[in-house]
């Protein structure tokens, strides 16, 4: 009997089909979860376009761009990881997962440095919020959404790092073969999803009205 097939499934194919569908449905829930924040952001940006543009210019676009590049590279290493799992190359898989984790950690490091900068500049919404320009209240709404959206994204990155750790451990125990690597594939789906969220966050938050 194949030990990688759980008792409720008839065969490995059915199990793989179920797991993959489950992951896609989970990602659909995630889209709706982030969707609520994107909706709030859109509504307030439409209500206060000037305040949002002014607030956006206080974000560090260089760090944001670097982070985007870092994250896209991590998607590449993740995709290579899935490819190595298909080939059954255990060492390559562990290496790719490790690189993905490293890039993820770099992203989080830069993100938290940016948060620290905002803290130094008094741009954390709430009682400590200081804003020299016009309409500080409406401007603080931009930063509320900046922190909630990037914060939720960072939380998903941290969960992703946890998943990667588990995948590395499983790889080192030799649990994946060219015929069974579903967890790697699903971890990859999750990681790519989190990247795509950032691909939307970056222009919406950092690149408002850069031409003026």
């Amino acid at each position: 009997m194949d030990l990688t097939v759980a008792h409720q499934f008839d065969d490995a194919e059915q199990q793989q089909e179920a797991s993959t569908l489950g992951m896609w449905i989970f990602l659909a829930t995630e889209i709706l979860f982030f969707g609520g924040m994107f909706l709030g952001y859109t509504v307030y940006r439409a209500m206060y376009p000037h305040e949002f543009a002014a607030a956006s210019s206080h974000l560090d676009v260089v760090l944001g761009t670097v982070n985007t590049a870092v994250l896209l590279c991590s998607s590449l290493t993740m995709a290579l990881g899935v490819y190595s799992a298909q080939l059954g190359s255990r060492r390559m898989l562990a290496l790719c997962l490790g690189l993905t984790m490293l890039l993820g950690a770099v992203f989080l490091g830069i993100k938290f440095y940016e948060y620290y900068q905002k803290y130094e500049e008094g741009l954390i919404p709430g009682s400590g919020f200081t804003w020299a320009g016009a309409n500080p209240n409406q401007t603080s709404l931009f930063f509320v959404f900046y922190f909630i959206m990037t914060g939720m994204h960072a939380l998903h990155m941290i969960i992703g790092l946890g998943l990667m750790t588990v995948l590395v451990l499983l790889t080192r125990r030799g649990r994946f073969t060219p015929s069974y690597y579903t967890p790697v594939e699903l971890g990859g789906l999750y990681w790519h999803f989190v990247d795509i969220v950032w691909v939307f966050l970056f222009p919406l938050l950092y690149l408002i009205d850069r031409s003026s």
Binding site: Q8, L21, A28, T29, N137, Q138, L141, I148
Partner: protein, 540 residues
């Protein structure tokens, strides 16, 4: 399949396969998890019922003499929160759905048994947070948590409650995800989509709502929590926030959630009607697609909660039209159930009584929904007792009737024993009478202008309010009775045998209680659902 009952004590089944706390608390068997849910939601049902009792007691007299105004606000809030999030949403899906979805498609378990167990733990953790908030002094925002009152002004335990509901939401997402994947990938050989019992279609539709709507509630509650903890004013008009945005986000979940609270009931009723009228369902594919249509349109009607909240007129018009559209698939179901009864061999067992009660009460609840979807009438009826009566006809008259009918219908399968039929019919009658006496006067009260959520009212409303309170006490008896005789039947009920109703569903083709893996061998399906015919009528 042998029709000889196999003695419950002498063979292995899911209840006696292992013993001890650990075998239950760490179980991955969908049937045991269903029972864990049954016990937990029963607790919350009676807790929510206790709050309702106190509300009705206060409303016996026009003056606010039993409770303080603030206490009353907490009572109706906690009644709503407990009943909606901790009872109604998980009720049929998490208990009967958990138990029956794998059995009805001929599978050994749900696709993700560990996630299923996790969903129960999340439910319990969320329940404990909510209980903690209640014990610590409660919450007074209503179950809707409207901002900016909930986020900036209320002095009660909003954050704790919101956290509890946030966590419970994930249990509902996991249940929905499990159902969708299971129905897609784990059907037995021959079980095509259009051979599935309609219970599965309605659970599939419910699961779609759970999966797509609940995350929006989650993020909305996060935003409320953030605003309340850090005082940043996301929904506070004083600093440029938009309270209507909260209502849009909240109802984007909560209106579809209303259909989480009725679709599973419709699935149960389709089973009860066919089983106890011994007839194939009238218009199978119409009933099946009506479930999907309700789920789909249900996502597009949320704005009808905001007709008087400052939503644009054009938006209101669209939401009004879309809300009318929900009536079409709902009516299709009601007509098809009724047509199924026609020339059926109807037996008036307790499950059938509940199903008939469902059809009548759901029809009243649905039709009064059309009143409220009409913008001009809604301006008159908004926030009155008419609305309260309307949604109780759907949620209690519909969902709770279906839930009780379903519990009775599948009790022989769950426990292996029959419930006492005479008592069960009596209880069904008491529930029906008590329910109507409680809630019909509220339609009148609301139309006359009594607002909801006030602890005092004008003197001329007292007669109808006393009727309503009297009805509530009858209803309470009707709810307590089944709990007593069902527990009694666990020990003293006669053994049911595999198929006491001589029904066609796969769940009846295995032993009662089922073996741990449900079926001794994977069933092969060769006929459509509800294939009742003359030959089956006499086979027991």
């Amino acid at each position: 399949m042998s029709t000889m009952p196999v003695a419950i004590y002498t063979r292995e089944h899911y209840l006696n396969a292992s013993y001890g706390w650990k075998s239950w608390l760490l179980t991955r068997d969908h049937k045991r998890i269903g029972l864990l849910y049954l016990m937990s939601i029963t607790f919350f049902f009676f807790l929510g019922g206790a709050f309702a009792t106190m509300v009705r007691l206060e409303l016996m007299t026009p003056k606010g003499d039993l409770f303080e105004a603030e206490t009353y606000n907490k009572l109706f809030s906690m009644h709503g929160i407990v009943m909606v999030f901790l009872f109604l949403i998980p009720s049929i899906p998490a208990v009967l759905g958990n138990f029956l979805v794998p059995m009805m498609i001929g599978a050994r378990d749900l696709a993700f048994p560990r996630l299923n167990l996790l969903s129960w733990y999340l439910y319990m953790i969320g329940g404990v947070f909510t209980l903690w908030a209640i014990v610590a002094g409660g919450v007074d925002t209503g179950w809707t948590f409207y901002t900016p009152y909930s986020s900036l002004f209320s002095n009660t335990h909003v954050v704790l409650t919101v956290l509890g509901i946030f966590v419970v939401g994930f249990s509902s997402i996991l249940t929905g995800l499990n159902f969708i994947v299971t129905i897609h990938t784990m059907r037995a050989p021959g079980m095509t989509w259009f051979r599935m019992p309609l219970f599965l279609w309605s659970h599939y539709a419910t699961a779609i709502i759970m999966v797509l709507a609940t995350p929006v509630l989650a993020i909305t509650l996060v935003l409320v929590g953030v605003e309340r903890i850090w005082r940043v004013g996301i929904f506070d008009p004083a600093i440029g926030g938009d309270p209507i945005l909260f209502q849009h986000l909240f109802w984007f979940y909560s209106h579809p959630a209303v259909y989480i609270m009725i679709l599973p009931g419709m699935g149960v009723v389709s089973e009860l009607i066919t089983t106890h009228a011994r007839k194939r369902i009238f218009g199978y594919s119409f009933v099946a697609f009506a479930s999907l249509a309700i789920a789909f349109i249900g996502f597009l009607v949320w704005g009808h909660h905001m007709f008087v909240a400052g939503e644009s007129q054009y938006a209101s018009l669209m939401f009004s039209v879309l809300s009318f559209l929900v009536a079409i698939p709902s009516a299709i179901k009601v007509f098809n159930w009724t047509a199924t009864l026609y020339k059926g061999s109807v037996s008036y067992d307790a499950p059938m009584l509940y199903a008939m009660g469902f059809i009548g009460l759901f029809t009243i609840g649905g039709l009064t929904g059309l009143f409220l979807a009409t913008i001009a009438i809604d301006v008159h009826l908004h926030d009155t007792y008419f609305v309260v009566a309307h949604f109780h006809y759907i949620m209690v008259g519909g969902m709770v009737m279906a839930y009780l009918g379903g519990i009775h219908n599948w009790w022989p399968k769950i426990s292996g024993r029959m419930y006492p039929e005479g008592w069960a019919r009596l209880a069904a009658g008491i529930v029906f009478i008590g329910f109507n006496l409680t809630f019909f006067p509220q339609f009148v009260l609301g139309y006359l202008g009594m607002p909801r959520r006030y602890y005092a009212y004008a003197d001329e409303f007292q007669v109808l309010n006393v009727m309503s309170t009297a009805g509530a006490s009858i209803l309470a008896v009707g709810y307590l009775l089944p709990m007593i005789y069902l527990i009694w039947s666990l020990k003293y009920g006669p053994e049911a045998g595999p198929n006491p109703w001589n029904a066609t569903g796969l769940e009846w083709q295995t032993l009662s209680p089922p073996p741990p893996d449900n079926f001794e061998e994977t069933p092969i399906v060769t006929e459509p659902a509800y294939n009742y015919g003359p030959d089956r009528r006499t086979s027991i």
